[in-house]
Amino acid sequence: MRIDKELCVHCGECIAICPVNAIRLQKKDKATGAKAHAEIDRDECVECAACFRSKICPENAIQEEKLAWPRILRKAFSDPVYTHEGTDIPGRGTEEMKTNDVTGRFKDGFIGIGLEFGRPGIGTRFREAEKAIKKLIPLGVHLEPNNPLTQLISNPHTGELKPEILNEKVLSTIVEAIIPVGKFQEVMAVVREIADEVDTVFSFDVIGKVAPDGSIPAAQEMQKAGLTPSFNGKVNVGLGRPSFPF
């Protein structure tokens, strides 16, 4: 994103729209004569396009730019209108449990986990998510192959991401995995270590199939780990037609 300095009238209306506080007002530069204007901090901007879509600028000074690699990743992970080439769905994640009644992605005996780096509202550099991937891979955790972050791993044995993307900032990116129920406690201990080491926040997701007897093993494992399952969340109500018996 950029703001055309010549068109900008320095009204400041755009500042509050930015989710990562990347728009700042610059005073008139007496030395160069440059007029007062709003400016986007390109290092902080996540290319979500919230400012552009808001149409808040009375002079249409906020403009989208054509983005090249690796900056295009900022848009891909921050602007939900953008469809990932790798996953062919908008947003930064996958269908996860939303279509589980059809796909059978999460079966009995398994738990899905997601570490949503940068969420809520703080943003993250990819290097923070890399810290988590590097700690989870040695546990034998199966990372979701269709997740757009997984597709940016350059070394599947160590979890290193492509080096040129590490400093790119996004609104959020999800480390997504499926683990056997029996591995949850071990993984949780590492998730807590990750929480101590990262320079951002992450929202933690736990997905579980409801067992035939109505129990939810994922919730039981959360409690065993000292985590209180949230009282609100998502329920797939099972109306999708299964693609195979599971």
């Binding site: 930015c18 769905i89 939303k98 703080i122 951002t200 997701d205 969340g233 109500v237 109306l239």
Partner: protein, 205 residues
């Protein structure tokens, strides 16, 4: 893409906050699902909704129902937000009858959603919990501000916009519905509950 998870707030505040949405599975039943998605959107139209939308075409607050309806494609996700549990219960029964074959997800307080599923004869299939926020949580805004911003799971409703709207309400420059509508605009999926935002803005004033 867990965009309706992690809605922060108190139980009392969230007990009337429901998102009902429909999605096809890319590798299984996406092909040809556009008309079914439109059918879902039509079925839910007759119920009083707080918001609706699709990420590609926008929401009630930045687009219109017909544009959103006509824009549904095979890979779309159709969303509605409701504030009445009884309405959600009726919807589940009607969707069961309609038998569209697509996945339907309800976000809300589990206890209530579970009850509505039972009443509709739908055993819950899969659930997703929030395990909370970890890491540098001292950077997060507090209370009602966070409760408002987390209603857009893609993070497009900024803390500064919430504070600006709260100030404008306080100064009498905007009514509560006007301020809540402004907050709903950046959320492209239409999952932002503007009615709930009004209540939370009141807490900020």
């Amino acid at each position: 893409m867990s965009h309706t998870l992690h809605r922060c707030g108190k139980h009392d505040d969230l007990k009337n906050d429901f998102v009902v949405f429909c999605m096809s599975a890319k590798t299984v039943n996406a092909k040809g699902s556009g008309p079914k998605m439109r059918k879902f959107f039509e079925i839910l139209k007759k119920y009083p909704a707080v918001n609706f939308g699709d990420v590609k075409t926008g929401s009630r607050f930045n687009s219109d129902w017909q544009t959103i309806h006509d824009g549904y494609k095979d890979q779309s996700v159709a969303h509605y937000v409701f504030s009445d549990a009884e309405v959600v219960g009726q919807i589940l029964k009607e969707l069961k009858e309609a038998d569209l074959g697509l996945s339907v997800i309800v976000s809300g307080v589990f206890e209530k959603v579970g009850e509505l599923c039972r009443q509709a004869g739908l055993p819950m299939h899969t659930v997703e919990y929030s395990g909370g926020v970890m890491g540098r949580t001292e950077r997060l805004p507090k209370g009602p501000v966070l409760a408002i911003t987390t209603m857009c799971g893609h993070g497009l409703v900024s803390t500064n916009l919430v504070k600006k709207m709260a100030t404008q309400v306080k100064k009498g420059k905007k009514s509560l519905p006007e301020a809540a509508a402004e907050l709903a605009k950046p959320c492209m999926c239409g999952v932002f509950n503007a009615q709930r935002a009004e209540r939370l803005l009141m807490e900020l004033n």
